[in-house]
């Protein structure tokens, strides 16, 4: 896994994305074991082209069938139209698994409305990335069915059910 390379390749293609999920929590809060990079992308044609270009350069592969038996390199897809086929894509790349989200449960206000709440941060190697804010991470957790919530993450994010509910 090479998180810096994934983020810096997206940056070099001017992709507009926000790092979400376990990797974002790991980089900014407490240790959690996570083996993929979750990205919420701006769902607009120009940005989809930028994301497509970055994923192609990273050697990413995607599958579209329900059975997952048709993996194909993104570099072999002739356009970014595939990014409009479904709401989420779980991809594989030689640099680590990448999940692309066009929509995120709990963040129904949308990418454009919430982007400004998400700070720009840097990895220890100095690679910039936009990071889902703590408040929005809490919203994502609360959007999950209760048994699926990461209670430890909510606690680390300062969520107090008796006060914040």
């Amino acid at each position: 896994m090479n998180v810096d390379l994934i983020l810096s390749t997206l940056n070099s293609h001017h992709a507009d994305y926000i790092l979400i999920g376990g990797m974002n929590f790991f980089l900014n809060h407490q240790p959690v074991t996570t083996f993929d990079v979750d990205l919420w992308i701006e769902d607009a044609p120009l940005n989809q082209q930028a994301v497509h270009g970055a994923l192609a350069e990273l050697g990413t592969e995607v599958s579209f069938s329900n059975r997952g038996d048709d993996w194909v390199p993104v570099s072999q897809l002739t356009s970014s139209d595939w990014l409009q086929r479904q709401g989420v894509f779980c991809l594989w790349s030689p640099h680590g698994a990448i999940d692309i989200f066009r929509a995120v449960a709990g963040l129904e206000a949308g990418y454009t409305a919430l982007r400004s709440e998400c700070p720009l941060r840097q990895t220890p190697a100095g690679v910039s990335y936009r990071s889902l804010s703590d408040d929005l991470m809490v919203r994502c957790q609360l959007a999950l069915p209760e048994p699926e919530r990461h209670v430890d993450r909510l606690r680390a994010l300062g969520y107090r059910p008796e006060v914040d509910r």
Binding site: P31, S63, Q86, C90, P124
Partner: protein, 61 residues
């Protein structure tokens, strides 16, 4: 005759299915030894990303 109703998958159902497909693909593509090596490399990467989380073992008194 009425068409059978097709169930629309939720976002989390799509994600769960795709994650399972990806895992199955990696198991087909790589040997268990290679998968183990990749997992170790991923753990090394996590340690590199958060060097502040690595604490020295306390010295015995």
């Amino acid at each position: 005759m009425q068409e059978p109703e097709q169930k629309v998958e939720t976002l989390s159902e799509v994600k769960a299915r795709q994650e399972a497909n990806r895992e199955a693909y990696l198991r087909r593509r790589f040997t268990p030894a290679e998968l183990w090596r990749q997992q170790q490399a991923a753990l090394d990467e996590l340690a590199r990303l958060r060097p502040d989380l690595q604490r020295k073992k306390p010295t015995p008194q």
